[in-house]
């Protein structure tokens, strides 16, 4: 989600690039992305470029919002003087 959220709304990221940059395998990344897609956080677009299959990923509005909430929660943990929050 960090990679997808760093781009603008609607911008699509190549699955192959994401796999390479994260050092993940097709299976690992594919499973992770499937869960994100089922949650409505990303959209997966399978197409052809120069007659080669290509998969592009886009963060949805809901996905961006969920990611920003997650980052905000992490920052709150760092800023909180009481230590990690529970629940």
């Amino acid at each position: 989600m960090a990679a997808l959220s760093s781009l603008g709304p609607g911008d699509q990221l190549d699955f192959s690039y994401l796999k390479q940059s994260l050092g993940a395998t097709d299976g690992n990344l594919g499973a992770h992305l499937q869960r994100l897609e089922e949650a409505g956080y990303i959209k997966v677009d399978k197409t052809f470029v120069d007659r080669r299959p290509k998969t592009y990923l886009t963060a949805t509005t809901r996905g961006r919002a969920a990611f920003e909430e997650h980052v905000a929660a992490l920052r709150e943990i760092l800023d909180s003087p009481a230590g990690p929050s529970r629940g």
């Binding site: 960090a2 609607g10 911008d11 940059s21 920052r75 990690p84």
Partner: protein, 213 residues
């Protein structure tokens, strides 16, 4: 969220690193090939000008400068090659064309043609020396337009490489004005074109296009 401050700090650092790497890949992928392509364009363009400048060819009742045709072919070829490379290597399909760096270059060149077009009616060089000086200044203008683009992109993308490359080549091109006609064009070809070419070749070896700079 049941996460320790240390884990939160590590997660945020990883988020920052991945975000930065993605954005840089979108902007830099293929930059090594761009330096090589445009290095060749400038090298061939400037060195070609040194030897082609006196020649014209007849076309539709006019005399057309061979140098001008040479530059049109090189710039068009460079533009097409850049577009093909970018399309092949970029990991991003942009939703908005405004975020496509290619538009920055098109707008920059369009404005330069506009400014030159606005100024040309007021330029009346005197004698051969005046014309030589004028064409040398145009030569520097032609080369420093993309250097301005590099400086802007260097500041925008926080890239030391692009910024200092733009600045260095601007200085080298301007310094060439001190040289006589033939040496000026050869100097621009080697200094500007050669530097870009070498930068591209070094970048390919060091993986700059993968964001390792």
């Amino acid at each position: 969220m049941n996460v320790s401050p240390e884990e939160a700090r590590e997660s945020l650092a990883e988020v920052g690193a991945v975000s930065k790497a993605t954005w840089e890949a979108a902007a830099y992928r293929g930059s090594d090939w761009m330096f090589i392509i445009w290095g060749l364009v400038w090298l061939l363009g400037y060195v070609g000008t040194a030897f082609l400048a006196p020649y014209t060819i007849p076309y539709l009742g006019m005399r057309v400068s061979v140098t001008a045709l040479w530059w049109v072919v090189l710039l068009a070829g460079g533009g097409m090659a850049s577009g093909l490379v970018y399309r092949k290597v970029t990991p991003v399909r942009w939703a908005s064309s405004a975020r496509n760096v290619g538009w920055l270059w098109l707008v920059l060149w369009a404005y330069v043609y506009l400014w030159v077009g606005l100024l040309v009616p007021f330029l009346h060089p005197e004698g051969t020396r005046g014309w030589i000086a004028l064409w040398k200044h145009f030569g520097v203008l032609l080369g420093t337009v993309p250097m301005c683009g590099y400086l802007i992109m260097g500041l925008w993308l926080e890239s030391r490489l692009l910024f200092w490359l733009g600045l260095l080549l601007t200085v080298l091109l301007a310094a060439g004005l001190l040289l006589p006609w033939l040496w000026f064009w050869l100097w621009c070809g080697v200094a500007a074109g050669g530097t870009l070419l070498v930068t591209g070749l070094l970048a390919r070896r060091r993986g700059v296009s993968r964001g390792e700079h």
